[in-house]
Symmetry: C3
């Protein structure tokens, strides 16, 4: 599998990831991870200081499913929507497929106001499934800003 | 034609589309559509409610050319400029090539102020011309926000 | 070398470029240019009026290295961070590889505030090194806005 092919498949995974969140198909989102995955949201500042703890942490697909169920109960998606703009992944050499991918999220409130909600970089480790489909073994979402909205329970 | 090749050609179409608008080469914009095309701007809210009507609607390339002529007369491009940042398309399976592609538009006013003008998703149906060039048979621009600037006559 | 391959390699160069700046690996940034390169930051307005002068101008890799050294001394990266979102390149036909690529930069201040720092287009001429790696022979950064922050010494 050449680099161009890996990039193509990783891009496909990234667009599907963003589409699940932005089109409010949250229930499809956990399936993009392997079962024993790591999903973490942290800040650039925390990372620089070497803090391992994140703002959000999940270490299995089941935990991601629980999070989606909680979000549905909280009805957060009724009040706002998101739009991810995801850059091209920078592949990092190694035995496993790892990549760094910049992202930006624009939030739109029900009354029409838009704002820059988050910007940062995804640090990913992905692995092909038995059928060749790439899934996230690890996605660490590193936000540039340390100032957080109370609604950060929403996947980034 | 494999998926990677389709993605490459669709990306080329998308970058050309954005470049026409952002570099003020509006006259080149209609040629990216087939003659009997659909071009529509609507909102996520309208779509959710099942409203077919859009804010802007054209069902032929000739209508798009008319729109460009009207914009030139109104001199709108003298007063502001646009920058599209277009994500990678998510290809949808099927006989025809359909795709969903996130976008973001930054507007810059003559005095230098910049703002987030629009964010949303393109719902596209594209078809290859006799020479293999892809063109839009349908582009539905779904804006996340329902609040519109009076200047929305400008293509998104 | 087909267009799809060129696009892949150019995208790789662009993601590396953005990653150097955004991850504060500024020292790696000059190596993405050939030794006798042109690097210029200008505005759309200046370009329209035919002004050759830019806000920033360098005509060798050594000048870029000097700039990085100056930025380190000024400690600017302690106070803010950047996130480039770079679109797909539009390849322009010709003997040399030239491309136009839209970009957006979000700035995050130490206190967490984010803003749209810059939007515009990269006008690039790239050339393959002896080992096939693409490098910038020329990168002209054309900013949509003519209003500049005093901190524009930072690479865009």
């Amino acid at each position: 599998m050449g680099d161009a092919d890996t990039l193509f498949r990783l891009t496909t995974l990234n667009t599907e990831y963003a589409a699940c969140i932005d089109a409010d198909r949250l229930e499809d989102w956990p399936a993009l991870f392997v079962e024993q995955c790591i999903y973490k949201i942290t800040t650039a500042d925390n990372r620089r200081r070497g803090y391992a703890a994140g703002i959000v942490y999940a270490d299995s697909r089941a935990m991601l499913q629980d999070r989606v169920a909680a979000l549905r109960e909280a009805n957060i998606y009724e009040r706002q929507s998101y739009r991810h703009i995801v850059g091209m992944p920078a592949l990092r050499p190694g035995d496993t497929i790892t990549a760094e991918t910049p992202f930006l999220v624009v939030r739109t409130m029900r009354d029409g106001r838009m704002d820059l909600f988050a910007a940062g970089v995804y640090l990913d480790r992905v692995q092909p499934d038995t059928d060749g489909t790439l899934r996230f073994a690890e996605r660490i979402v590193v936000c540039d800003s340390s100032r957080f909205d109370t609604l950060l329970a929403i996947p980034l």
